[in-house]
């Protein structure tokens, strides 16, 4: 019953809405639209394909150019790296050489300092010779004056003259011998010992 009511209500509502405006279907218009639709259905995929192909081509060219540019850039960077490496090697060699020279110079200075600190052996020997000659002269003076060993003193003076003839003590020894000889003459004539050794301590 309700279904009939609904149907009745719907049909009345449909009737009161009125008929749609008459539609004039023009065959030529439909055919023209169909042709246009067919053309569009063919042309659109072709245009899309053309666009895709063009895009892919342009993209390929761009990618190739980008690749070439990248390769050039990489080669340039490699050259720069090679040059920088060569410069670094040269700088390293130079630094190494400078450091080696400095090390050598430092070693040379050290050696020179050591050499400068070493005393002259000749002077050392000369000092030793002088000291020995002095000791001998001193002993001989003591033997002659304090111990009254005239013969031993004369032998010691002669030994000084013999061993160290170039030193001043050889001259002193000659002078002592001369004085001893003179004192013999004086002793022989007067009987006293007049000679006294002189300049022995002052010269030391």
């Amino acid at each position: 019953m309700t279904e009939d009511k609904i149907q009745n209500l719907l049909q009345k509502a449909d009737e009161t809405a009125g008929r749609p405006t008459p539609v004039s279907i023009n065959l030529s218009t439909v055919r023209r639209r169909a042709n246009r639709k067919r053309i569009v259905s063919v042309a659109v995929p072709i245009a899309a394909a053309a666009v895709i192909v063009t895009t892919v081509g342009l993209w390929g060219l761009t990618a190739r150019n980008v690749k070439t540019k990248k390769q050039q850039k990489i080669a340039s960077l490699q050259d720069q790296i090679r040059q920088l490496r060569a410069r670094a090697d040269a700088t390293f060699d130079l630094v190494h050489e400078v450091l080696e020279n400095e090390r050598k110079q430092q070693r040379l200075d050290e050696l020179q300092a050591q050499l400068a600190s070493i005393p002259d052996p000749i002077e050392e020997i000369q000092d030793q010779v002088d000291k020995t000659a002095f000791n001998l002269v001193y002993q001989a003076d003591r033997m002659y004056q304090e111990l009254n060993l005239k013969r031993s003193a004369i032998q010691t003076y002669k030994r000084v003259i013999e061993l160290f003839p170039e030193t001043q003590w050889a001259d002193v020894a000659r002078q002592r011998l001369l004085e001893i000889k003179n004192s013999r003459y004086k002793k022989d004539s007067k009987g006293d010992l007049l000679w006294k050794p002189q300049n022995v301590h002052s010269s030391c």
Partner: protein
């Protein structure tokens, strides 16, 4: 299979299956074309337009919510008919085939309309007039407008069976074939559609 969705309660986009006329039996032959049998050539198109344009316009008008200006949609329908006429093998009746195309075109048109409305008017809601007791003597145009708006507001899966069954007065079998659904499903949808209409138009149906 063409699947589309309706979510808005006003339009209630639903998934639907494109009706396929190939499932019609061989008994549904093209009728009323004075002996012209498929495959139809372009010569038959004029006769098809002449015979069915009014019916298709009425059905389109009902499916689109009685806008009364359905010329563009009908033009599109007959364009599809013209393009697909060579492929029509006559395995179903010509009327069913035309109605199937009409329903598909109307669905597409409504879907485009909904998309456009959602884009331009984000929250468009169909405002139904407030329920007021009807005049016992006369159902004025306002009441019928309300009935039409209620039908228009139904989801497509309920509106189409209502239009085919109660306005086009097609049988259950024919309606289910046109819609591409089983008869049971059509009965279920009709029942649900009636419930909705009863709920919306309760005071009108009580009288």
């Amino acid at each position: 299979m063409m699947v589309m969705a309706e979510k808005n309660d006003d339009e209630n986009l639903v998934k639907w299956r494109k009706p396929c006329c190939a499932q019609f039996s061989q008994g549904d032959q093209a009728e009323g074309l004075d002996g012209i049998k498929p495959p139809f050539g372009r010569a038959a198109f004029d006769r098809i337009v002449e015979r069915y344009s009014a019916d298709i316009a009425v059905l389109t008008n009902r499916l689109l919510g009685w806008p009364n200006d359905v010329e563009d949609v009908v033009q599109d329908i007959f364009l599809a008919v013209f393009v697909g006429l060579k492929k029509f093998r006559g395995e179903c009746s010509l009327k069913s085939w035309l109605f199937t195309i009409t329903i598909n075109k109307c669905r597409t048109y409504r879907y485009k309309q909904i998309l456009w409305q959602r884009k331009t008017i984000p929250k468009l809601r169909l405002r139904l007039p407030p329920n007021r007791p009807a005049d016992g003597r006369l159902m004025d145009s306002e009441i019928f407008n309300r009935v039409r708006r209620c039908v228009t507001a139904l989801p497509a899966k309920y509106r189409e069976p209502i239009v085919l069954r109660y306005l086009q007065e097609l049988s259950i079998t024919e309606s289910s074939r046109i819609l591409g659904i089983s008869e049971n499903l059509l009965q279920v949808r009709l029942n649900r559609a009636r419930k909705r209409l009863r709920r919306e138009l309760a005071e009108l149906l009580e009288e």
